[in-house]
């Protein structure tokens, strides 16, 4: 197979389909989504059989249990994909919305219209549910999609793609509105990210190494998510009744998610009071504490049963543990906290706990992260919690979309001018 030729053909078809997707009515897009959902349910046995083939191969290849777990599709998983698509159908259609129209002295009226990005290439791990989610979000936002899932999920992805095709065709939309890459050759990714004539944006999901490589080599814009080194800062004026539950939830609700807190900063004036309470809570949950000298002295002196206290290395301030481990540092106060966060944070999500209005508002403004929070758990940084209705990922970029990316992040705005024969003087 000539991979370059195959990808060029795929790109050309996507570009052509994107025009029809952009012009599609809300009714047609919603019909497609609902037919795909029905088709996923109707073809559940086929999907499970395809998944079983993938799993058999994956086990034969000695895949790690965590990857096997993500690759596995259950009946419940199929229902979840189907109802996710119905939820996307229920969201307002962002495309074509005209806003901010203003009359200018020349007589013209100028405003914005929300439009699709065009063709979106999505590169992701061997997680079959992403195939349905990504297809749904791209269809609703009027984009054409080229999906490249992990090669271990190919059979299952092909089965899901058949449902997607049925939905598109039933609704009178082009089948090439959503294409999956049918080759497992890695060269296909290299082609996908270097076809600016056919692809408008790449959304990579997966490990940091993969995303860094794609960002480096891409010739098209990339909406990327690197790591989540999220901070909670307990200010001089933190309310302890809020501080402990926020640290607990931010760190321990789930360890493997990108919006989990990995670092705790405590204002010096409150360290002796708050750290023993935080430490007891963390020790009770089995969380290892990697502290600065000052925090370790306080935690050590508190004599917390079962506390695992480890001196922090410089590298701990940057680490995304994704595990029951937290870095702890005592800081002078707000300025030092902001400096530390802006230096070490991955610009994902950072929170302050404080009752002081001006300090909280300074934190909100000066911490340069995609999500900045006052008196709330970092775990809220999520498309569903923010009310986006769906999420294709969380961006740690600064331009275009920051933080959770929903339908709107897959769109752009063009200028529209309503005239009545005006010419420029």
């Amino acid at each position: 197979m000539d991979i370059q030729q195959y990808m060029q053909d795929t790109g050309r078809k996507a570009r052509a389909a994107s025009r029809q997707m952009a012009a599609a009515s809300t009714a047609a897009k919603n019909q497609a989504l609902c037919v795909i959902a029905a088709s996923l349910r109707a073809r559940a046995p086929e999907l499970l059989a395809a998944n079983a083939r993938d799993l058999e191969q994956a086990r034969a290849d000695g895949l790690e249990p965590a990857m096997i777990d993500r690759l596995t599709l259950s009946a419940k998983g199929i229902e979840s994909m189907a109802s996710g698509l119905e939820q996307i159908a229920a969201l307002p259609d962002p495309i074509g919305e005209i806003s901010n129209v203003k009359r200018r002295p020349s007589g013209i009226q100028v405003g914005h219209m929300r439009v699709p990005l065009g063709v979106i290439g999505i590169i992701y791990e061997a997680r079959p549910n992403v195939t349905a989610d990504a297809a749904g979000l791209c269809i609703k936002s009027g984009n054409a999609a080229i999906l490249r899932g992990g090669k271990e999920a190919l059979h299952c992805n092909q089965a899901i793609a058949a449902c997607v095709r049925e939905g598109l065709e039933t609704a009178g939309l082009p089948a090439a509105g959503v294409q999956i890459i049918e080759t497992t050759d890695r060269a296909a990714v290299g082609e996908l990210i270097t076809m600016p004539e056919f692809v408008d944006v790449i959304v990579p999901r997966g490990g940091k190494g993969l995303i860094e490589r794609i960002s480096r080599d891409a010739r098209v814009p990339v909406i990327k998510h690197l790591d989540g080194n999220c901070h909670v800062y307990l200010d001089d004026e933190a309310d302890a009744a809020k501080a402990i539950p926020i640290v607990e939830n931010s760190k321990t609700q789930r360890y493997g998610t990108c919006n989990t807190a990995e670092s705790l900063l405590v204002a010096r004036s409150r360290a002796a009071e708050l750290l023993p309470r935080v430490g007891a809570m963390l020790a009770g949950r089995g969380v290892e504490m990697r502290g600065c000298a000052e925090s370790l002295a306080i935690l050590g002196a508190a004599g917390i049963a079962g506390a695992r206290l480890v001196p922090a290395q410089e590298s701990d301030w940057s680490e995304e543990y994704l595990a029951p481990v937290i870095a702890i540092k005592v800081v002078d106060g707000l300025d030092a906290a902001i400096d530390h966060i802006n230096r070490y944070s991955s610009q994902h999500t950072d929170a302050i706990v404080s009752e002081n209005y001006s300090k909280a508002m300074r934190f909100l403004r000066e911490v340069d992260s995609a999500s900045v929070m006052i008196n709330a758990s970092t775990r809220f940084a999520d498309g569903f919690e923010y009310g986006l209705g769906a999420e294709i990922g969380i961006s740690t970029d600064k331009i275009h979309a920051r933080g959770p990316v929903g339908l709107e992040g897959l769109t752009s705005q063009k200028w529209v001018v309503f005239g009545n024969g005006e010419v420029r003087a």
Copy 2:
């Protein structure tokens, strides 16, 4: 000089300054802008002397008259830079604005805050006025700037940079908030566009070749402006009283600007009536017409005195003439016009002239360009005409900023969460 070391130092200083620029008060930023304006006026003799040095060298190097013209700074030009900065000071400060706050079922309130992009690298031709304009826009939008102007303008840029520094320091802002690259070595550009740790976005201005090269080699996002192949489409239901002035203004008001129309499409049902009138107007202004066979037959039969009629080649449909030349094509109607534009347009600005509501609205939605207009001259696609107050360029990209880029295009939005101790269930 070690260019890489020099650029790394410049980048590091810019990154540090960007924190202070982001946190600067509106009053401090406006004070800086007004002091720079006063300083430009006060140091006018120095600026003119520096410019004279640049011009002398440029003439000795045999620069083209058009480039000499752009390089030349007059007393009027200095006043225009100064008053431009005062106009930027008068604009609302976009930074820190919180919008779209919504309460979620969890109890948190989620919204957006407008924030600077960080460090902006601007690469431009030998036009001293751009140095002041770009500095002003970056200061007001809370960004740090690294400016790389054409090497022919170095002395004048250094003199302008001294005024900028005076303004920043008087207002208590870091001098490194705006840096100009003091070396003329081209390797500096290569470094500037490949330092993602220090530079958040690159804005290149200049020739198409330069911009394509920068886009290809950059390791940071680029807000770019390629060419402007703008169309006017005269629909079946065009009002002739609007059509002729719109074509006249779009094509002939200025020939060298990117929002000038380069292609005219005419619906077949109106070609015999409209083309002779359009042709007479264009011939009267000395505009060469490169037409399809059908349009040439009509124009030829009309016997217009002095008309220069030339058969169009395939390449004419893509051409940005920047000259008194226009491509003309007769099309079946709206669908053919949209197809032609989406195929050949540079996605800059395209206009329809029509009295039919549904056709005009379809054109508005389906033409995939940064500015799409109904019954108005393409020449309106401009930051000032759109009410942005200032413009750093016009983007032909699809993500982030499309069309004229003002202060808002130099910003992004982060998520802000107002909580009261909420944790995720």
